[in-house]
Amino acid sequence: MSASTTFFSQQRSNRRKSILLLVGVGLILGAFGFAAGFGTTGDPFGGLGFTVVAVVIAALLGSGSYFAGDRMVLAASQAKPVTQESHPVLMNVVREMSLASNIPMPKVHIIDDTAPNAFATGRNPEHASIAVTTGLLEKLDREELQGVIAHELGHVRNLDIRFMLLVGVLVGGVALIADIFLRYTIFFGGGRGGRRGGGGGGVLQIVMIVLAVVLAIVAPIAARLVQLSVSRQREYLADATAVELTRNPVGLEQALWKIGADREVLEVANRSTQHLYFINPIKKFEDRASSMWATHPPLADRIDRLRELHSMPPLSADQREALTH
C-alpha cells in the first residue's frame, strides 16, 4: 500500500514538472522570436510579429505531430501490425496489462529485428500503439515480457506518449527556427546593418541582435537538455508504474538485466526515435554511464530502484560493470 502511494506522488510531481518544461520551451521560443524580430526590424512590434510567427510554427508542428506523429514513428521504425492468430502470447500479455492499467487495448506492432527492445506512441490511451521487436519475444520469458509491456503501457497511461511526441517536435521546431534565423542574419544581416547604420540604429537593436544570435545557439541545446531530463524521469516513472500494474518487480528487473546485457544494435532506431524505446537502442555511440545527454537513466540505476521495492541490496560493483560493458 505504501509503495503505491509513493507511485502516485511520483506521478503527480512528474506531471507538474512536465507542464513547467512545456511552458519553458514555449517561453524560450517566444523570447527568441521577440529578440530576433526586434533585432532585425528595430521595432518592438516587429518583435511581437516574430514572436507570433515562432509560436504559430511551433503550434502547427505540435498539432501535426499530435495527429500524425504516431504513424510517422511506426513507419520510420518499420513496425508491422500483428494479430491474435500470429502472436497469441504477445497479444494476451498486452490484453492482460491493459486490463490491469484500465486503458483500452492498444494497437500492437512488431519490428523485425533481433535486438530486444520496445516502444509506445500515440496521442492518448484511446489512440495508442506499442511496438516490440522479434528479438524481445525470442529472448524474454512471459514474466519478463509482462514487465516490459507494463512499462510501455505505463508510458501510455501516464500520457508520456503524447508529451514525448509534442516535446520531440517542439525541440525540433526550436532548432529549425534558430537555424532559419542564423542563416538569415548571415546572408542578409550585413547589408541590412550597413543601411541601418547610416540611419542611426539604436543600441537596443544591436543588443537584441546579439541576444537573438546567442539564443539561436543556446536555445536548441537548452531545449534538447530539457527533453532529455524529462525523458529520463519518465523512464523511472514508467518502471514504477509497471511494478504497480504487475505487482511484481522481478519480471521487469530481469528483463532490464537481459536486454542490458544484450549486445545487438537495433538498426531502425535513430536519434529522433531513440527516446521512445524501452532502453536506449543506440548503444555504440551512447555511453551507458550517467550523462546529461542520455535519453534514459543508467540501466543499473533503474535496476537498483526496482530492487529497493522488494528490499534487495543494490547491484554490486561487478554487476554494474557487467551492464556497462
Binding site: P88, L99, A100, R247, E253
Partner: protein
C-alpha cells in the same frame, strides 16, 4: 409577504430535490461501474470453464498415471460452475480452489516431455494462463469499484437515501492468499 415565504419554501424544496437526484445518480453510476467490472471477470471465468474440458481431453491420453489430478481439476471446475449462482464471495472461493488444482496439473505436466511438444496443449496452456492473469487483474479493478460503492452507500449523505432506493452493499471477489506473496528473486 405570504407569496415570498411560499417562494422561499418552494425554492428550498427544489434545492433538496436536486440534491437527492444528484446523490441518486452518483450512486447509480458507482453501481454501474461495479457491474461493468464484474462482467469483465465473469467473461474470463466462463472462458476458463470452457477451456478446461479441452485441456483435460488433450492431456488425458498422455497422462495415464495422473487420472487423479485430472479428476480433481474436473471436479473443481464443476464446483466453480455451480458456485457461479451463489454470488462473488462464494464464487471466488471455488475459483481459487480451481486455480490451485490447475497449478498442480501444470506442475505434473512438466514431467511429460511429449506434452510440451504438443502445439495444441501449449496453446491451451497459454490461453489458460492469460485467462487466469486477466481474472486477477480484473479482480483488482472490481474490488476497487466495490470498495468505492460500498463506502459511498454507508457514509453521509448518501446513506440517508441508499436504503430507501434499494442500494445494497456488494460482495468482494477475494484474492487467493498465496498470490500476494512477493516471489523470490533470481538474477543471472
Amino acid at each position: 409577504m405570504e407569496f415570498i415565504v411560499l417562494l422561499v419554501v418552494l425554492g428550498v424544496l427544489v434545492l433538496i430535490a436536486l440534491f437527492v437526484v444528484g446523490l441518486y445518480n452518483g450512486l447509480v453510476q458507482r453501481r454501474l461501474r461495479v457491474d461493468e467490472a464484474w462482467s469483465q471477470i465473469d467473461v474470463q471465468l466462463k472462458r476458463r470453464h470452457d477451456l478446461i474440458p479441452n485441456l483435460v481431453n488433450a492431456v488425458r491420453g498422455y497422462m495415464e498415471f495422473e487420472q487423479e489430478t485430472l479428476t480433481q481439476v474436473t471436479q473443481a471446475r464443476a464446483d466453480a460452475v455451480a458456485a457461479g449462482a451463489r454470488g462473488p464471495a462464494d464464487q471466488a472461493q471455488a475459483e481459487n480452489a480451481l486455480t490451485g488444482t490447475l497449478r498442480s496439473l501444470f506442475a505434473v505436466m512438466e514431467n511429460y516431455p511429449d506434452l510440451k511438444a504438443s502445439q495444441n496443449v501449449l496453446s491451451l496452456q497459454e490461453e489458460l494462463s492469460t485467462t487466469e492473469n486477466q481474472i486477477s487483474f480484473s479482480r483488482q479493478h472490481y474490488n476497487t469499484s466495490v470498495r468505492e460503492y460500498n463506502t459511498s452507500i454507508a457514509t453521509v449523505p448518501a446513506v440517508f437515501i441508499a436504503g430507501m432506493f434499494g442500494f445494497d452493499p456488494r460482495e468482494f471477489f477475494e484474492a487467493e492468499p498465496e498470490a500476494q506473496q512477493v516471489p523470490e528473486v533470481r538474477l543471472r
